[in-house]
């Protein structure tokens, strides 16, 4: 052992061997990281429910617009107020949507937090404040309030 320690020949060979070994370990680690990162990024693109969330928000806005128009029609021949009819239609829309989303393991809730109606001479239409939330166990999304302006 003492002879090995005292022998100082071939140090360049030893040093270059060490450098090559470290470089090899570094390259392999880098390559592994790249593939693992690629796997996770492509997997996340599949798992993140962007289409479900977009669809939920856009259909809620569309349904609110339809609900306000229906409420104005019913209001002409009924003593129910426009906010009451609109809220009732959106609550029913929320009940159906929740059941449909629940059938593929997602929880959604849509509720009305406020409604203001404007007369026909106003430059603004009716404004509905919605609370929308979505949860699939991994991703939670909420839009509170989601303001929908409907020109009647």
């Amino acid at each position: 052992m003492a002879r090995i320690i005292e022998n100082d020949q071939g140090q360049w060979i030893l040093l270059s061997g060490l450098v090559v070994a470290i470089a090899l370990v570094f390259l392999v680690t880098l390559m592994n990281n790249a593939t693992v990162t690629g796997y996770h990024s492509s997997n996340n693109a599949l798992e993140f429910p962007k289409d479900d969330i977009r669809d939920l928000v856009s259909q809620s806005r569309d349904a609110t617009s339809q609900a306000v128009h229906i409420a104005h029609q019913i209001n002409q021949s009924s003593n129910q107020t426009i906010p009451d009819i609109t809220t009732s239609i959106i609550e029913d829309f929320s009940r159906q949507t929740s059941l449909l989303y629940a059938s593929h393991g997602q929880t959604v809730a849509i509720s009305v937090s406020n409604i203001t109606t404007n007369n026909s001479t106003s430059a603004f239409g009716d404004i509905v404040w919605l609370n929308i939330s979505y949860n699939d166990g991994n991703t939670f999304y909420s839009s509170e309030p989601e303001i929908v302006e409907v020109s009647v």
Binding site: V28, M31, T35, S42, Q59, D92, H104
Partner: protein, 171 residues
């Protein structure tokens, strides 16, 4: 006992360990590459079928022959598709143009008496295990159904929510 070239022996041993570690690392990473490629195909397919549904839904009915709302509203609710017997030829025709290299089925899911009813409207066979499903909601009012001549029974003060489920797979 010959105690010469001990450092060479040590170097050889280290080289062997390094090579083994490298081969193992490369072998492991190639296992990861396989699901990554599979995922990439699935991501592409999901994007494609979601886009097809969005285009069908947001395009005004004056621009294309039948948009999604029109197809759903005009559907006869008492029918159900089976193999070779589609119940929504208009929708099938549009999807065939948009998804030329995919097989697909279309189901309508809706709530009736507080439970979810699912019916086939376009059926091209049983999906394989690598199939992907995209969903799109359509809210129908009684006025919309009447204007497209459908058979949905919707009270005047309600909206009917129908979920269009498009399941696609590579053949």
């Amino acid at each position: 006992m010959n105690d010469k070239a001990q450092l060479y022996t040590l170097e050889g041993l280290m080289a062997a360990v390094l090579i083994t570690l490298t081969v193992l690392a490369v072998a492991q990473s190639s296992v990861v590459i396989i699901p990554q490629t599979d995922n990439f195909l699935e991501v592409q397919m999901k994007q494609k079928i979601n886009d097809a549904l969005v285009i069908l839904d947001v395009t005004p009915d004056t621009t294309m022959e039948y948009n999604l709302t029109e197809c759903v509203a005009s559907w006869n609710t008492s029918t159900e598709a089976s193999y070779g017997k589609d119940q929504l030829l208009a929708l099938d025709k549009q999807l065939a143009i948009m998804l030329p290299d995919l097989m697909y089925n279309v189901e309508f899911a809706y709530v009736e008496n507080s439970s979810v009813v699912v019916k086939n409207t376009v059926f091209n066979g049983a999906p394989t295990e690598n199939s992907i499903t995209a969903n799109r909601l359509v809210a129908l009012s009684n006025a919309t159904v009447n204007s497209y001549g459908g058979t949905w029974m919707i009270p005047d003060d309600e909206l009917k929510v129908i979920e269009v489920r498009l399941t696609a797979w590579h053949v």
